[in-house]
């Protein structure tokens, strides 16, 4: 595995970086959908971010990365039924980034009967799949628009419920699976079904930068990294450390960040004006704004945060004309302008 590129050394793509940070601060925001050109560093950014996350404590030997610090209902069956978590040994592991390779089969994704144990010992045991490994980490799906629909359905279902329920081959297993789902793709190769779009918490559009200075900077950074990754990582370690601390503090502070009633009302008015279906948009909007406020070190959410997260939180939820190319972002911004500046 190659060394991850330092997160702070990524040039540009601010909206994508912000969306990933927000999703990392608050998992309940939901996944991030990154749509856009090739070679814009989507995969790089996710790996870089995961490398920044503080290592996490897990129950030793638990295949589901259970957190020893949480209450029992949040644990997997083995950890619930066995020893009390406090008594169990813990170890620390890096935050997992699991890639869902195109062509992965359903049994590998959600888990299936453990063939080896079944064949050799005649035991019926569950072999956890990718979803189990991604628990408390990131699940990255490149070309999500090309993934088989039934897999995407399964993934989004688990991502939303935070729990993977397996009922197959005589197995009946449920285990926690809370992860940040990050999907990416290129709309020129086929769109994502509208009903899937809305299941992602945030969506960002990435474009290849057009101006020469930025492009040169990106190429030079990348080149320097390839020449001497250890030295490059070291050079950026201080900046990366800052982001890491900011992220850790934001996660700690998150539950204490207040959302004043006027902000909630504003969010509701914004969603009404844009005609988004259901409450998911509003919830995501508020959660994302709270996560952003926490990242910025604020004690309460202000209009400013709402304004910044509105485009990524709402642009994919508009009941849109699929042929309207420019549309969504402009519409969100227009509605924002009308609401705030009125």
């Amino acid at each position: 595995m190659r060394t991850p590129f330092p997160f702070s050394a990524i040039v540009g793509q601010d909206e994508m970086k912000l969306a990933l940070l927000i999703a990392a601060v608050d998992h309940s925001v939901g996944g991030v959908l990154v749509f856009g050109d090739r070679g814009t560093g989507k995969s790089t950014a996710i790996r870089a971010l995961a490398a920044l996350m503080p290592k996490m404590a897990v129950v030793a030997g638990c295949p589901y990365n259970c957190d020893p610090a949480v209450d029992r209902p949040m644990l997997c069956e083995a950890c619930q039924g066995g020893q009390r978590p406090e008594a169990a040994k813990t170890r620390t592991v890096p935050v997992p980034v699991v890639d869902l390779p195109l062509g992965a089969t359903e049994d590998r994704v959600i888990g299936a009967l453990d063939l080896e144990r079944a064949l050799t010992r005649g035991e019926k045991a569950f072999e956890p799949g990718l979803l189990a490994r991604a628990h408390r980490g990131f699940l990255y799906i490149d070309e999500v628009n090309l993934l088989e629909d039934h897999l995407v359905d399964a993934l989004l279902d688990v991502a939303a419920s935070g729990e993977n329920v397996v009922e197959r081959e005589g197995l009946s297993v449920r285990h926690p699976a809370r992860f940040v789902l990050v999907g990416s793709g290129n709309p020129e190769e086929g769109e994502l079904r509208p009903q899937l779009l809305d299941r992602f918490g945030l969506s960002v559009e990435v474009r290849t930068p057009e101006d020469l200075a930025t492009r040169v900077e990106i190429v030079q950074q990348r080149d320097a990294f390839e020449r001497d990754s250890a030295g490059f990582v070291k050079k950026w370690s201080r900046r990366d450390g800052q982001v890491r601390r900011r992220l850790a503090q934001a996660r700690e502070r998150l539950s204490g960040v207040e959302v004043p009633a006027p902000v909630v009302e504003l969010a509701a008015r914004l969603c009404m004006r844009l005609g988004t279906d259901g409450l998911r948009g509003e919830l995501t909007l508020i959660r994302a704004a709270r996560a952003l406020a926490s990242l910025e070190g604020r004690a309460a959410v202000t209009e400013e945060e709402l304004r910044r997260v509105a485009p990524p939180a709402l642009r994919h939820r508009l009941r849109r004309d699929p042929l309207d190319e420019a549309g969504s972002t402009a519409r969100v911004n227009r509605a924002l302008g009308e609401l705030f500046d009125a």
Binding site: M1, G103, L119, G122, P187, E188, R193, V216
Partner: protein, 611 residues
């Protein structure tokens, strides 16, 4: 076009240089996209590459219809059954670690094959998540993609093209052009050792980026690959510092083939006047790449360049060399709207992808006999057999028969069931002739867009044929990308005669194609029915309309569902007769604004419901 001919002609020297560069660092550069038909020239090129790669480096061929299991590895059936535990098998990619894979007929490769290759190229490891196995194998591989697309076909997928540094077109070469022994394996070995030490200043990367921008190369990966190629070029020529000629090599081999526009260079004319010898020098550099000349001459050239053209911005000189290397036919293709964007974006539209889609998505397994042509689901079979092993073994021991470790009985066989989903392709045939344009081409476009939106919801494929002047043209082959459909629709100009028969014939040809692929086509014809150009391009209303009716009858016989939308100001008998010949729906459009028109289209029965 052969050898070192006119300036701008591709040279065999460049092709040979690409082989040498690729041999130095195949995985680092991604590899080579090799355009050209199979034949002695391509074989010679591949032989050269094989000769230059270290002996220990594997060079494997990936056939077009490689299965995923073979590509990535999976469960080894024979070994698994005899060992009684899952035994993994290494795939082609893992076996090729440290070497090069040659992807045959890459332009037709299945999308999943390309995705796996891309993933391995990006992360230098093979990630296996199938058949109950999970494994990561480090694998640095280079890819040589053999692109045999004919003119007009869809070329190599952008997924792969973007990641392959070197794009080599062998089509201009005959076997007589092949000469120039170039670099030997020893030279390559030395270059490999030298590569980590090669220095490059920030200026070089900046210049390559500037050239990329001037040529309209959007992808940043291309810039990065150009930087890498410049380094490898320096290493190959025995330098530890990237100089001008390396940048020119990188720009010529990496950026020029990706050009989407011809840059405006103001310098050349001026240079031709003031600075004639130097201009010649630059040309010479372009014609005889350093590979062909050996290192001394190249160095001299570089020195000459550096000395003579000091006054000129450096970017421009690299750019000039690059522009000189853009083949003339490419220049001709590069109109304002004619960039590669128009070329296929949908990868692997033909061949494997289609077939695998036709198989439908697996929808579970059932007990069954695999001999009837069904696909055995190995995993499910083993799972079914697993719980019985203890019993069966005991039984086998009683009967005194030994046998394999895993006892699979006929009852255990599980076959994969696929849910077939016949895919609908809606073919829009749009009359863009003068008479239509005068009337309501814009409104018809609006109507098509609305129908497109409906296709989008249903995940149908759409195709677009337009006819005007003397002929019909397939503007958009079947695709699911609405962005593309909309773009080609918007770019549709109006005017000219109405070659209605040609339009219907083109639709019939496409219908045939879709049906042969197993899809379900439906045709929506937007016309006023006023045909005035017959199949031979001759004028004449009577003749043209009679032919159109013939064509319509022929189209009906393919069994396709159709609808005629009459775009004339008042319902016109011709269009209705046409619909009759097609046995399709007839929808006269009232003269109204676009919104009313859209409502009319919406309220009309969609083509799928029509009988």
């Amino acid at each position: 076009m052969s050898g070192a001919a006119a300036p701008g002609a591709p040279t065999w020297g460049d092709a040979a240089l690409a082989a040498a560069l690729c041999a130095v660092a195949p995985a680092h550069l991604g590899g080579v996209a090799l355009r050209g038909m199979p034949g002695p020239v391509r074989e010679t090129w591949l032989d050269r590459l094989r000769g230059l790669l270290p002996e220990t480096a594997p060079l494997r061929r990936i056939p077009l219809h490689v299965s995923e299991g073979r590509l990535l590895g999976g469960l080894d059936l024979a070994a698994t059954l005899s060992a009684g535990r899952p035994v993994g098998e290494r795939g082609l990619l893992a076996e090729s670690a440290g070497g090069v894979v040659v992807l045959a007929m890459a332009e037709r490769a299945a999308r999943s094959t390309l995705a796996h290759l891309a993933a391995v190229m990006d992360f230098a490891e093979v990630v296996l998540e199938r058949d109950g196995l999970a494994r990561r194998t480090p694998a640095e591989i280079g890819v040589v993609a053999l692109d045999e697309a004919q003119d007009g076909d869809e070329g190599l997928s952008p997924v792969l093209l973007d990641r392959l540094a070197l794009h080599v077109d062998l089509r201009p070469f005959g076997i007589h052009d092949v000469d120039d022994p170039g670099h030997g394996p020893a030279c390559i070995g030395a270059a490999r050792a030298r590569l980590p030490r090669v220095e490059m200043d920030g200026e070089g990367a900046a210049r390559l980026c500037a050239v990329a921008l001037a040529l309209g190369v959007a992808s940043l990966r291309s810039c990065l690959l150009a930087v890498r190629v410049a380094r490898v070029s320096a290493a190959l020529l025995g330098r530890e510092r990237v100089d001008e000629s390396d940048l020119a090599v990188a720009a010529r081999l990496v950026l020029a083939p990706r050009a989407t526009r011809v840059p405006q260079i103001e310098a050349p004319e001026q240079a031709a006047e003031d600075d004639r010898p130097d201009d010649g020098g630059a040309q010479q550099a372009a014609e005889h790449p350093p590979a062909a000349e050996g290192r001394d001459t190249a160095a001299q050239d570089a020195a000459q360049d550096a000395g003579g053209e000091a006054g000129k911005p450096l970017d421009d000189r690299v750019l000039e060399a690059t522009v000189a290397a853009i083949p003339p036919q490419l220049l001709a293709q590069l109109g304002p709207d004619n960039g590669p964007r128009q070329r296929a974006q949908a990868a692997g539209r033909s061949g494997a992808l289609q077939r695998s889609r036709l198989r439908g998505r697996p929808s579970g397994v059932l007990r069954g006999d695999p001999r009837a042509g069904a696909r055995l689901s190995l995993i499910e079979t083993l799972r079914a057999a697993a719980p019985w092993q203890r019993l069966r073994r005991a039984q086998a021991a009683e009967e005194g028969t030994g046998g394999p470790r895993v006892l699979v009985r006929r009852d255990d066989f599980r076959i994969t069931r696929f849910r077939q989903r016949a895919e609908t392709t809606t073919i829009f045939v749009v009359d863009a002739s003068g008479s239509s344009a005068l009337h309501r081409l814009a409104e018809a476009k609006g109507a098509v867009e609305l129908l497109l939106a409906e296709c989008y919801v249903r995940r149908d494929q759409v195709a677009l044929i337009a006819f005007r002047g003397r002929q019909a043209e397939l503007l958009l082959p079947p695709t699911r990308s609405l962005v593309r459909a909309k773009r080609s629709l918007a770019a549709l100009p109006g005017g000219g005669g109405t070659p209605l028969a040609a339009g219907i014939d083109a639709a019939a040809a496409l219908v045939d194609l879709v049906q042969r692929r197993g899809g379900t086509p439906s045709v929506i014809l937007l016309t006023d029915g006023r045909a005035n150009i017959d199949r031979d391009g001759a004028q004449g209303r009577e003749q043209a309309f009679a032919q159109a009716l013939d064509s319509a009858t022929a189209l009906r016989l393919t069994g396709v569902r159709s609808m005629v939308i009459d775009t004339s100001p008042r319902p016109h008998a011709n269009a209705e007769r046409l619909a009759g010949a097609l046995r399709g729906h007839y929808l006269p459009l009232p003269h109204a604004d676009a919104a009313a028109l859209s409502r009319a289209v919406q309220s009309a029965a969609p083509p799928r419901a029509a009988h």
